[in-house]
């Protein structure tokens, strides 16, 4: 079954069409990668999918219901979490607190309940802390529990942002270049973590530049170029697609 349906999504900025009539499906339990050269419209598409931006045309539906036009926090409540290309951590808060903020969507204590410590708030807080600690362990971050996010090394910060996104209890998670700036060992850890997350029942959409990682983990790949979808399919086929080679992989080969 199709978890996420993207239909003819178009987004323009002034005269520039950043995303141009893109359609694809994401199936439950899979890992889908979105690749393309810089400026292909990947991040814009991500923003549209997560409510941070609105499409000029087209629609996005999630679990059979319209998602287009929902505000970001509503999208999170529907079960779609995201990370950012430039990590958006809460720098002065500890790793545990960062993940606890991720629990915001799944907890209820408001100002009055918190101020008066109404019955239930203590239990909720305790459960949230346990869940946050569990997620830190899942991503191997438990030794950083009480360190401010600002003090953590770059690679672990990306993992922390993933842990925070997981804390929102997503069905679908969108990761914007999770391997950017990671070394080989860190990338391997990341791949490991992504499998574990997928196995825990979370569907993944990953925008990524690291071709090795993309070919290894993804079940299906969507290739964007100048806002258009130029190919879609399993990694083996994408690697051989002439249009993709021309638009993208050719460049990548030059880099290496």
């Amino acid at each position: 079954m199709s978890l996420l349906e993207v239909r003819d999504v178009t987004r323009r900025f002034g005269g520039l069409t950043a995303v141009d009539g893109v359609s694809f499906d994401v199936h439950e339990g899979s890992i889908k990668a979105i690749i393309g050269p810089n400026g292909a419209g990947k991040s814009t598409l991500f923003n549209v999918l997560t409510g941070f931006d609105r499409p000029d045309e087209g629609s996005v539906s999630f679990q059979g219901r319209e998602l287009t036009g929902e505000r970001p926090h509503k999208v999170v409540l529907r079960g779609v979490a995201r990370t950012f290309q430039n990590t958006q951590l809460f720098e002065e808060m500890t790793a545990l607190e960062n993940v606890l903020v991720g629990r915001h969507a799944r907890t209820r204590t408001g100002f009055i309940a918190a101020a008066l410590r109404l019955p239930g708030t203590g239990t909720e807080e305790k459960l949230a802390r346990e869940e946050a600690a569990r997620l830190l362990r899942l991503l191997g971050l438990e030794s950083w529990t009480d360190s401010p996010a600002a003090d953590m090394p770059h690679g672990l910060r990306r993992l922390l942002e993933i842990a925070r996104a997981l804390a929102t209890g997503p069905t679908l998670m969108l990761l914007d270049e999770p391997a950017a700036g990671l070394n080989h060992a860190e990338t391997a850890t990341l791949a490991e973590a992504l499998y574990r997350i997928r196995d825990a029942g979370v569907t993944l959409v990953v925008v990524e530049h690291d071709m090795g990682l993309v070919m290894e983990i993804s079940d299906e790949i969507v290739v964007l170029d100048q806002g258009r979808k130029i190919a879609e399919g399993p990694p083996r086929l994408i690697q051989k697609d002439p249009e993709v080679l021309r638009a993208y992989l050719g460049q990548e080969d030059e880099d290496e």
Partner: protein
């Protein structure tokens, strides 16, 4: 209301509007170079008047020289304020800079009270003589001075912006500070220069209106808010729009006195400020921009 009465209100509106336009230009210039609203802008207006009174009354300088001294000392204060309070905050964090200018506003006005005393002060009109009569309305000679000086300031500023190297650097900073730095513009110097210009314009406004309305150490905040309202009305960052916003606010105020009551003059401009902020924060003359994530 008769035609000549209405004209009288228009004249008065354009007089106050010119003052707001000068203060509003100060906001715009500093905003363009720093991305921050300078809450101390109104204090430059106050200082312009105070320094001129001081130079005129205490040192007995001729009025024209006292006015020049007033502008120069105010500009110097602006430079000093930037060097001592803005520049040391190297990260340029906006909330912090805003708070610094709020503190600066309080500090400048209370220092002025120590320097010049708590009383209201005034200087004589630049040229004495009866009002000029036009179609049954009277224009005070000082009003003509205000218009003349405002137009001169705008023309000079326009020339600086469009014809000089400094102006190009100022415009480059306004568009993109990082890019400007990359192509070799000394952005720190530009920030200092913009504070000097903003202070000079505020000072000019303060001293040219000082003969009509007395000035005191606490006169800055009120005019500062109006100058900001004018800048917002026009749309922050555009000098022409800032002037237009100033004149418009002056006219709106004047008309509210004509048709409502002078009691609500200040409230009206504040309401205009809130209304524009809530409904059209990008101003009347700019197109809306959507922020990109």
């Amino acid at each position: 209301m008769g035609g000549s009465e209405l004209l009288q209100f228009v004249i008065s509106g354009l007089k106050n509007g010119s003052i707001y336009a000068l203060v509003s230009l100060g906001f715009t210039i500093v905003y363009a170079s720093t991305g921050v609203i300078n809450f101390a802008q109104g204090e430059f207006y106050m200082l312009g008047g105070m320094f001129s009174v001081w130079a005129f009354a205490t040192f007995g300088l001729p009025l024209w020289l006292a006015a020049i001294v007033g502008i120069l000392l105010t500009a110097a204060t602006g430079i000093l304020f930037e060097l001592l309070a803005i520049r040391p905050r190297k990260d340029g964090d906006q909330l912090s800079l805003i708070i610094i200018t709020i503190g600066g506003s309080l500090l400048l006005s209370s220092l002025a009270r120590h320097l010049f005393g708590p009383d209201e002060l005034a200087i004589p009109a630049f040229t004495s003589g009866p009002s000029v009569r036009v179609f049954g309305a009277a224009i005070e000679r000082q009003t003509l001075w205000i218009w003349g000086l405002t137009i001169t300031a705008v023309v000079i500023l326009n020339w600086v912006y469009n014809k000089t190297k400094l102006g190009r650097a100022l415009r480059a900073c306004a568009i993109n500070r990082d890019a400007a730095r990359l192509v070799g513009v000394d952005t720190r110097l530009i920030v200092t220069v913009s504070f000097a210009l903003a202070a000079a314009l505020g000072g000019l406004a303060g001293l040219s209106v000082a003969p009509l309305t007395q000035t005191a150490f606490d006169a800055g905040a009120r005019v500062g808010v109006k100058g900001f309202a004018a800048a917002i009305l026009g749309g922050l960052g555009n000098p022409i729009a800032a002037v237009a916003g100033g004149l418009m606010l002056g006219l709106i105020e004047s008309m509210s006195i004509a048709y409502l009551s002078s009691t609500y003059k200040d409230a009206i401009s504040l309401l205009v400020l809130l209304l524009v902020l809530f409904v059209r924060p990008q101003g009347l003359f700019s197109r809306s921009r959507r922020e990109k994530v």
